[in-house]
């Protein structure tokens, strides 16, 4: 995809700021490239993107399992408390059934080891509710833990069940307790469960749901992802005190690059692909200062400036060459064994 001709870019003044907006799924590298392009020209970079909600972090649960296996029960419990604290916000997005059940199973096991039997029991009940098939290996776990989980599984099996129905806009992928549900329906034991929905062009949505009757219905109300309007860009430009700004707005795999003055007058516009260097090339072009008017060479201040610069360089370059600090500073540990 090429860069759309603008015709007036060479005559436009350099912008003071680059305003960037992209949906959460946009590669982070694009933001880095745009920021570098802006800063290379001395323009401010302002990221107006909404931060993407963080999904649950399964590595935290894995680290907790490792801590439990190494008898660091308090550390395991702290990690699992953090992981559980995220669930009500994320609806367990990012976790599959096994990981979600493991969170509560290991938290219960850690609490057994730390002498908190009542709270351990609550966790084991949740673990059995999420994954009733989970059993413990007698070679790895103490008999007390195995017996407690079996009791929890039996209690969950005997508990009443309710029908959960999740309604969502077309195209949404719904997960219930970490398992993808094609129709958003599930028969679940009474108690707490977690639902999340991933809908195109919407922020992730997740909730903790309590199934406490025969039928429970939940409607997904995900927030739509939309770029700021043109007025927002003008307000931002005036707030910054910018004479003109460049807006980079990513939508549907393409970027709209728009150069406008703070009074709203558009100076240049391009629609380019976000792949490759098309966005940065467009920004470079829009940010480049206008070419100088033709004049007699000896009247050109650039000639005199260049001559001055060469003279200064003849003095300063030898000095600068003695200063090794101009290079990149690299941190490279030594003493590491081969790995």
């Amino acid at each position: 995809m090429g860069v759309a001709p603008t015709g007036i870019a060479w005559a436009a003044p350099a912008a003071d700021a680059v305003l960037y907006w992209a949906p959460p799924e946009t590669p982070a590298a694009l933001r880095v490239r745009v920021k570098s392009a802006a800063e290379a020209h001395g323009a401010a970079f302002v990221d107006r993107s909404s931060p993407a909600p963080k999904p649950a972090d399964p590595t935290r649960i894995a680290a907790a399992v490792t801590a439990y296996d190494e008898l660091r029960f308090d550390e395991a419990l702290a990690l699992l408390d953090q992981a559980a604290g995220e669930l009500d916000r994320t609806g367990a997005a990012g976790l599959d059934v096994a990981r979600l059940a493991e969170l509560f199973l290991y938290r219960g096991l850690a609490r057994i080891q730390l002498g908190q039997p009542a709270r351990a029991w609550d966790d084991l009940l949740i673990a059995a509710r999420i994954d009733p098939s989970r059993v413990l290996d007698p070679a790895r776990f103490p008999p007390r833990a195995i017996e407690q989980l079996e009791r929890a599984r039996a209690e969950v099996a005997a508990a009443p069940r309710g029908a959960l129905r999740v309604t969502a806009p077309a195209g949404c992928v719904i997960s219930i307790d970490g398992a993808i549900s094609g129709d958003g329906r599930a028969e679940l034991p009474h108690g707490a469960h977690w639902v999340d929905a991933a809908c195109p062009e919407h922020l992730p949505w997740g909730r903790r749901i309590v199934v406490d009757r025969t039928a429970v219905e939940v409607a997904v109300a995900a927030t739509m992802i939309a770029p700021p309007g043109d007025d927002d860009a003008l307000i931002q430009a005036r707030t910054l005190g910018a004479a003109s700004v460049i807006e980079v707005t990513v939508l549907g795999g393409a970027a709209r690059v728009r150069h406008s003055r703070s009074d709203g007058r558009e100076l240049a516009r391009a629609l380019v692909t976000i792949d490759g260097d098309a966005v940065t090339a467009t920004i470079d072009r829009m940010l480049s200062p206008p070419p100088p008017p033709r004049e007699k060479w000896y009247r050109s201040r650039w000639v005199w400036a260049t001559g001055g610069a060469l003279a200064a360089a003849a003095i300063l370059v030898p000095v600068a060459l003695r200063d090794t600090s101009d290079g990149d500073r690299v941190i490279r540990p030594t003493g590491l064994p081969p790995w």
């Binding site: 894995a62 550390e75 408390d81 290079g327 990149d328 941190i331 490279r332 540990p333 030594t334």
Partner: protein
């Protein structure tokens, strides 16, 4: 560590990674999947630079900025979990100066590892204290021939070396404290030649090159065996209790304060309600004028004291014993007290009025006095253990003896306040590589704990790698 150029202008800053011997349980390598290296400002939650590297890749960070108080963090990952960690102490990057050479102890977390270092002597009953530059100083204790060790040793985490930096006065059971400018003072104890309480005050100062200077002076008011000292939040040190060998404990405290290149010693006019020796003194917060809790110890008749006292630095007086006289549930001596993150004081170990070990812990709060805080786990040292506060506020108890005169133990335990209900939890952590009692341990600027001594013969120095929490 070396300065080398990989490009015409590149400056290579090469932190030296130290670690336990290969094959040790604490060794980070070789089975890591990934190593994450991070450059950050000390204490800052955000990174300046960070990158992760898989097996076989060259570990490096490009574009490091100039600045002070920079630290490098190294995290080892296995199966998605963080299993190893290490960080440097703070260093500066300045284009006008040669690149620094910080060392970094990289080991499995919550593991003890042996250092490649030879201590000067066995050092049973020695003392340790953290110096202002983040290194650890060790002094005192007896050698393998039961003679006092006079060598002052320093372990510097920035260079990864243990060196004898100076000799100190020959005495046993001295009291140590740091004054506000970071210098360390040594006072009291028993003169090993005369057998009397020592009046010698030594001020230890270490310069940027690691050279130590010890300035001695004598003060009759400091001739106290079994005294305790605490650093106030304004940097003054107050010495409580202790007294002549075989005599009654002294009731009047003494203040020691930095006075330019020297120190000023001042006897205070206050009087303890119960003069005692072998008490603990714990400052209750870091606020200016924060009071100090004096707990336990032996009274003039040699009995453990139940009544605690409160020193109020701004008034230079003890709280009125008619309004402040909380009593420990188990009167005890030879115990340890440590301030917890919520401002409470945990009292651990010691012996009771019958000389039996006390396994019950107590938690002191200003509003609630002393309360039961559970029992030390079986196998934990009750006397002669080392008690060290970790960077995350938890407390590490290592080695010691379960009974007076019993065998040393190797068990180590972590004690922390349960964040949910405030109760005290004690859990097992990695055992020392050998049983020790009367050893000395100190936490250093990189958050690791270095421990030495406590064995009949000179033994390896051990280093504990706490979790990364609180070590930014």
């Amino acid at each position: 560590m070396a300065l080398a150029a990989c490009g015409p202008d590149d400056v290579i800053v090469a932190p030296v990674v130290d670690g336990p011997a290969p094959g040790s349980d604490a060794a980070a390598f070789p089975d890591l999947d990934e190593v994450v290296i991070t450059l950050a400002r000390e204490g800052s939650a955000s990174d300046l630079l960070s990158a992760s590297f898989s097996r076989g890749e060259t570990i490096e960070l490009r574009g490091a900025p100039e600045g002070d108080a920079l630290v490098v963090h190294l995290t080892g990952r296995l199966n998605g979990g963080d299993v190893a960690y290490g960080r440097t102490c703070a260093f500066a990057l300045d284009s006008e100066e040669p690149p620094p050479t910080p060392h970094l102890w990289f080991a499995r977390t919550v593991k003890w590892g042996d250092l490649d270092a030879s201590p000067a002597a066995a050092r049973r009953g020695g003392r340790a204290i953290a110096y202002r530059d983040g290194s650890a100083l060790f002094l005192g204790g007896d050698d393998a021939s039961n003679l006092p060790v006079t060598a002052l040793e320093r372990f510097d985490p920035a260079t990864g070396t243990l060196t004898t930096v100076e000799d100190v006065f020959s005495r046993r059971n001295a009291t140590l404290a740091a004054i506000g400018d970071g210098r360390v003072i040594v006072l009291g104890g028993v003169d090993s030649l005369s057998g009397m309480a020592s009046s010698r005050l030594e001020v230890i100062e270490i310069d940027g090159g690691g050279t130590a200077r010890v300035d001695p002076s004598d003060h009759a008011g400091l001739a106290r065996a079994d005294a305790t000292a605490v650093t106030l939040s304004d940097g003054r040190v107050v010495v409580f209790g202790g007294g002549p060998v075989g005599g009654a404990p002294l009731a009047e405290p003494v203040e020691i304060a930095g006075d330019g290149a020297t120190v000023a010693v001042r006897e205070l006019r206050a009087t303890m309600a119960v003069p005692r020796r072998g008490a603990t003194a714990t400052r209750l917060s870091d606020d200016l004028g924060a009071p100090v809790l004096i707990a336990g110890g032996l009274d003039g008749a040699g009995a453990p004291v139940a009544q605690a006292e409160l020193w109020r630095p701004l008034r230079e007086d003890f709280a009125d014993p008619f309004t402040f006289a909380p009593a420990m549930r188990v009167p005890r001596a030879r115990h340890t007290a440590v301030r917890m993150p919520d401002g409470s004081v945990l009292v651990v170990g010691g012996v009771d009025t019958t000389g039996l070990p006390v396994r019950a812990m107590e938690l002191f709060t200003v509003d609630g006095g002393f309360a039961d805080a559970g029992l030390l786990p079986p196998g934990a040292g009750v006397v002669d253990a080392s008690v060290t506060t970790l960077p995350d506020g938890r407390v590490l108890i290592s080695g010691g003896r379960e009974t007076i005169g019993g065998d040393p133990v190797a068990g180590a335990y972590i004690i922390n306040l349960d964040p949910l209900d405030g109760s005290v939890d004690a859990v097992t952590t990695d055992r020392l590589t050998m049983a020790r009692a009367g050893h000395a341990a100190a936490r250093m600027c990189d958050g690791t704990v270095v421990l030495l001594g406590g064995t009949p013969l000179a033994s390896p120095v051990e280093r504990y790698e706490p979790p990364p929490l609180g070590r930014r």
